[in-house]
C-alpha cells in the first residue's frame, strides 16, 4: 500500500519528531531535515513540560472562559538572545472554539503572554516574551488561524493579555515536504529563511519518517498504520535496551525487569512525563505482554533463565558466561514485527500492577 504522505503530515507524533529534527545541528549538504530552527538560533528548552497558570490569572478568568489548570505543550523552543520562548503544540488538524482543545489553546495563549517568565520561573512578568505556535497538517493554517483569533479576542474581552501566535503548516507534494509560516511568525521567531521552505526531500516509494526521538505517545490520535509503526519502534527499542542491559552485565546476573525503566529508556525519559496514569498502566501491561511473548519464544536452556513471579514481574537469572551467551543469542533472533502485540489492552478493575 502506498503511503499517503499528506496524511502522515497530520500525525502529531511525526510532527513532534520533525520539530525536534528542525532544531538539530546538521551540516549544510545532504541533510536529513533542513534544520530551520537550528539555523535561526532556536533550541529545545523543554520537552513536554508541565505548566500552570499563576493564581491571580486563574481567579481572573474563572467562570468567564473555559481553560485548563495545567497543560503540557509538546515543546518549548528558546531563542536566547531575544529572551523569547515559543510554545509549540502539534495538532493534526484545526479545532473549533467550543471544543475541549480550545480550552488548552486558551491556556497556552495566556501563558504565551506577559506571564511566560513567571510560568517558566525565568523572572518577573514581561521580562521574557512568549509566542504560541501550532504545527499542523496540510490546509489547516487558515482555519486554525481563525479559531486562535477568536480565542485571543475572548481573552482580551476579559481584560487579559494573550501572547502572539501563529502556525507552521506541513504539507507534501511528490518530491518534497514543505513548511509554511506567515511573515509574522518569521519575524516573531527571527527565522532566517522565507516561507515556504522545503525541509525534506522525498524519495520514490520511500517513507520520509526520520529517526524518531519520541517513538510513542498514548494520548494522541493516529491512524492504524501510524499506531502500528509507533508500536513497532517502541518494541524494537525495548528489545534493544533489554539486550544492552543483559549484554553489558557481569555474570552471575539476577535482575528483575523493570518495565518502567525500559519505557523510559525507549522514550528518552518522556514516559515519566505522561500524565495519563491509565494510559501508562496500559502501556506497562503491553510491555509485559511483549515480555511474555519473548519468554514464549525462548528455548531451553535460555528459557530457564527468564521466569515470571507473581506481584514482582519477570526475572532474569543467568549463572555463567555460557548461559549469558545463549540467552543473548536467542534474544537477538526475536523479531517484534512478527509478534502480535497489536491488541488494545484496557485496564481492568482491581487489576494489580507489578512492583516495577
Amino acid at each position: 500500500m502506498k503511503l499517503d504522505i499528506n496524511s502522515l503530515c497530520k500525525d502529531p507524533l511525526f510532527q513532534l519528531n520533525l520539530a525536534i529534527w528542525l532544531t538539530q545541528p546538521q551540516h549544510a549538504d545532504n541533510v536529513c531535515v533542513d534544520p530551520i530552527f537550528y539555523k535561526s538560533g532556536l533550541s529545545i528548552y523543554s520537552i513536554g513540560p508541565l505548566l500552570t497558570l499563576p493564581l491571580d490569572i486563574k481567579l481572573a478568568i474563572k467562570g468567564k472562559i473555559n481553560f485548563k489548570d495545567s497543560i503540557r505543550p509538546d515543546l518549548i523552543l528558546e531563542k536566547k538572545e531575544l529572551n523569547r520562548y515559543c510554545l509549540l503544540e502539534c495538532k493534526g488538524s484545526s479545532f473549533g472554539s467550543g471544543s475541549s482543545t480550545a480550552e488548552q489553546a486558551r491556556t497556552l495563549l495566556l501563558i504565551a503572554g506577559p506571564i511566560i517568565s513567571e510560568v517558566l520561573g525565568m523572572g518577573s512578568r514581561r521580562q521574557n516574551a512568549g509566542v504560541l505556535c501550532y504545527m499542523t497538517g496540510p490546509n489547516q493554517n487558515s482555519m486554525l488561524g481563525t479559531t486562535l483569533l477568536e480565542l485571543k479576542e475572548e481573552i482580551e474581552s476579559i481584560g487579559l493579555e494573550p501572547g502572539p501566535f501563529g502556525c507552521f503548516e506541513i504539507s507534501a507534494d511528490e518530491s518534497v515536504i514543505t513548511l509554511e509560516y506567515s511573515l509574522e511568525v518569521k519575524e516573531l521567531l527571527s527565522l532566517k529563511i522565507d516561507s515556504p521552505l522545503q525541509i525534506m526531500k522525498l524519495e520514490e516509494d520511500t517513507d520520509p519518517r526520520p529517526l524518531y526521538f519520541i517513538p510513542y505517545d498514548p494520548n494522541i490520535n493516529q491512524t492504524a498504520e501510524e499506531k502500528e509503526f509507533s508500536r513497532r519502534v517502541l518494541f524494537e527499542r525495548i528489545l534493544e535496551f533489554f539486550i544492552t542491559d543483559i549484554g553489558g552485565a557481569d555474570v552471575p546476573i539476577k535482575t528483575y525487569i523493570k518495565t518502567e525503566k525500559f519505557l523510559n529508556d525507549a522514550t528518552f525519559g518522556i514516559y515519566s512525563l505522561w500524565d495519563d496514569n491509565e494510559a501508562k498502566k496500559c502501556l506497562r501491561k503491553l510491555v509485559r505482554t511483549f515480555l511474555k511473548k519473548i519468554e514464549g519464544t525462548l528455548k531451553s536452556p535460555a528459557k530457564e533463565c527468564m521466569h515470571y513471579e507473581i506481584k514482582v514481574g519477570y526475572m532474569v537469572d543467568i549463572k555463567d558466561d555460557n548461559a549469558k551467551s545463549e540467552f543473548l543469542k536467542q534474544l537477538q533472533k526475536i523479531k517484534p514485527e512478527t509478534m502480535d502485540v497489536s491488541e488494545s489492552i484496557q485496564p481492568s478493575l482491581f487489576e494489580s500492577d507489578d512492583h516495577d
Binding site: 525536534i20 538539530q24 545541528p25 546538521q26 551540516h27 549544510a28 549538504d29 545532504n30 536529513c32 537550528y38 529545545i44 528548552y45 523543554s46 520537552i47 513536554g48 513540560p49 508541565l50 505548566l51 500552570t52 495545567s70 518549548i76 513567571e118 510560568v119 517558566l120 520561573g121 525565568m122 524519495e203 520514490e204 516509494d205 520511500t206 517513507d207 519518517r209 526520520p210 529517526l211 526521538f213 513497532r232 519502534v233 524494537e236 527499542r237 528489545l239 534493544e240 535496551f241 539486550i243 544492552t244 543483559i246 549484554g247 553489558g248 557481569d250 529508556d265 528518552f268 525519559g269 518522556i270 512525563l273 543469542k329 537477538q332 523479531k335 517484534p336 514485527e337
Partner: protein, 424 residues
C-alpha cells in the same frame, strides 16, 4: 608459545628493567632489520580502550581477569601479563595510561599477538581497540609532515575493500560473515578460489615525506581508496625507522628505541582521548533535567546526530547486501545487532545495539548516508569504529559530521591541543 620470552618477562620486576629490556631488544631488532634478517619478532603495542564512565570503570586486573588472564603488579600502572590458558605463559606487559586507556606491550609474533588481543576484546564488553579511521589518519599525516624532516621516509598503507559490492553472494544461504572469511582463508588450493569482481585496494606507499606531501592530496582526488589510510608510520625523530600505527590501535616498533615508541603511543593516545571527549560531548543524546522552582523539572534534549555521507550513492544491490550481511548475521563486520525497519528500497531504520560494548545506537541507513543517534553512555568508540568500517568497507571518501561539525576538523582541533614530546 615463546618460552624464552616468557622467562625473560618473568624476571622483570621494575619499570626500569622493562624499559631497558625493550630498549635493548628494539636496538637488536633494528640491527637485524639493517641486515634484512630478524631473528625475533619486533616489539608491538596494542592501544586499548576501557569504559569512559568512571562509575563503571574496573581495575585492569578485573578487566583481564574476566578472560582468565593474570596481571602481576610491577608498579602503580605497570603489570606483567600471564596467560595460563593453553600454556601461553607470560605474554608481555600492560601499562595503564589512564583509567580509560591501556596499552599492551609484547614481542610475540604478530599472528599470535594479534589474535590474542582480538580474543581479549571479543571476550570483554569492557574492552575495545582504539579506532583510527582514514579521516583520523589524514589529520595525523599532517602532524607527521610538521614533525618530520622532509627527507625522512614515511610509510602509508591504504586498505579498502568494497565487500558489499558483490552480486552473486547476495543470494547465498545464511552464513556468518566471519565464517565466510574463515572458509576463504582455509581453502587449501588458492587456484580454486572463485573470481570476485569488486573494488579492492591494498597497497603500501613508502617515500620521502616531501614527496608524499606534494602528491598525496592529488592522488586521493584521483583515486578514492587512497583516503582509506589504514596504517601510518611516524618516522622516529632520533634515528632510523619509525612507529607504524594501524587502524585498530596496533603499533609496531620499527625503530631502535622503545622509549621513543612509547612516547609516540602516548602522543596519539592523548589526541584520541581529546577526540573522544569532544565526540561524546557533542554527540551524546540525553534529556538534561533542569530543575526550576516553578513548576518542576524541565527536560532539555541535548546532543547531535552523527552523519556519514557517501561520496556517491550505493547501488541498490550493494545497499541490500550491506543491510542483509550486517543485520542478517549475528556475527558481522560492523558488530551491530538490530531488526531493520524497511522504509523504502534504499532506506531502513535500526534501533540497534553495538555488540562490541553492548550499547544502544539508533541508525538510519540509506544508499546516500548513515545517520546515528547515540544515547548518552554509548561509548564514543562506537562512532570512531563506525567511521573506520565505513571507509574500509563501504566508501573510502565518506565524510563524517558530528552535528554540523566535520569530524575531520574535530580530529584536527584535538591534535592541535596536544603537545608532542619525543622519547625520554
Amino acid at each position: 608459545m615463546n618460552i624464552d620470552m616468557s622467562k625473560e618477562i618473568k624476571s622483570i620486576d621494575s619499570r626500569e628493567k622493562m624499559i631497558r629490556y625493550f630498549d635493548g631488544y628494539a636496538a637488536e631488532r633494528m640491527e637485524e632489520l639493517g641486515k634484512k634478517s630478524t631473528k625475533r619478532p619486533l616489539v608491538k603495542s596494542y592501544m586499548l580502550e576501557h569504559v569512559g564512565d568512571s562509575q563503571k570503570q574496573k581495575d585492569i586486573s578485573m578487566v583481564l581477569g574476566m578472560s582468565g588472564i593474570i596481571t602481576e603488579k610491577i608498579d602503580e600502572n605497570l603489570y606483567r601479563v600471564l596467560d595460563t590458558n593453553n600454556g601461553n605463559g607470560y605474554m608481555g606487559f600492560v601499562e595503564v595510561f589512564t583509567p580509560r586507556y591501556f596499552v599492551f606491550y609484547t614481542s610475540q609474533p604478530s599472528d599470535i599477538a594479534d589474535s590474542w588481543v582480538k580474543f581479549l576484546v571479543l571476550n570483554s564488553p569492557d574492552l575495545d581497540h582504539i579506532w583510527l579511521s582514514g579521516l583520523t589518519f589524514n589529520v595525523l599525516w599532517k602532524r607527521v609532515i610538521q614533525l618530520s624532516k622532509p627527507y625522512r621516509y614515511v610509510s602509508l598503507l591504504f586498505v579498502h575493500e568494497s565487500i558489499y559490492e558483490i552480486d552473486s553472494k547476495a543470494n547465498e544461504p545464511e552464513r556468518d560473515e566471519n565464517e565466510h572469511d574463515e572458509a576463504q582463508s582455509a581453502l587449501p588450493d588458492r587456484d580454486v578460489v572463485e573470481i570476485i569482481e569488486r573494488r579492492a585496494a591494498k597497497f603500501k606507499l613508502v617515500d620521502k615525506v616531501s614527496v608524499v606531501q606534494e602528491k598525496l592530496d592529488k592522488l586521493q582526488e584521483l583515486y578514492l581508496p587512497l583516503y582509506a589510510i589504514s596504517q601510518l608510520r611516524f618516522p622516529s625523530p632520533i634515528g632510523r625507522g619509525g612507529h607504524d600505527f594501524y587502524d585498530n590501535g596496533k603499533v609496531t616498533n620499527r625503530s631502535g628505541d622503545f622509549r621513543d615508541h612509547r612516547s609516540h603511543i602516548l602522543y596519539v593516545q592523548r589526541i584520541y582521548d581529546e577526540l573522544m571527549k569532544r565526540t561524546e560531548e557533542r554527540a551524546w543524546y540525553s534529556l538534561d533535567k533542569e530543575k526550576v522552582s516553578v513548576p518542576g523539572e524541565f527536560q532539555k534534549l541535548i546532543g547531535a546526530p552523527v552523519t556519514i555521507d557517501f561520496g556517491e550513492p550505493l547501488s541498490k544491490e550493494t545497499f541490500d547486501y550491506w543491510i542483509k550481511s550486517t543485520f542478517g548475521h549475528i556475527n558481522n563486520k560492523f558488530r551491530l545487532w538490530g531488526n531493520p525497519i524497511v522504509l523504502g528500497p534504499t532506506k531502513v531504520h535500526v534501533y540497534g545495539v553495538d555488540k562490541h560494548l553492548w550499547k544502544p545506537i539508533f541508525l538510519e541507513l540509506t544508499n546516500k548516508h548513515l545517520i546515528a543517534i547515540v544515547p548518552k553512555g554509548t561509548c564514543g568508540n562506537t562512532i570512531h569504529r563506525l567511521i573506520c568500517n565505513i571507509q574500509k568497507y563501504i566508501d573510502p571518501s565518506a565524510k563524517a559530521y558530528i552535528g554540523d561539525k566535520e569530524y575531520k576538523s574535530l580530529v584536527d582541533e584535538s591534535s592541535k591541543e596536544i603537545k608532542y614530546e619525543t622519547g625520554y
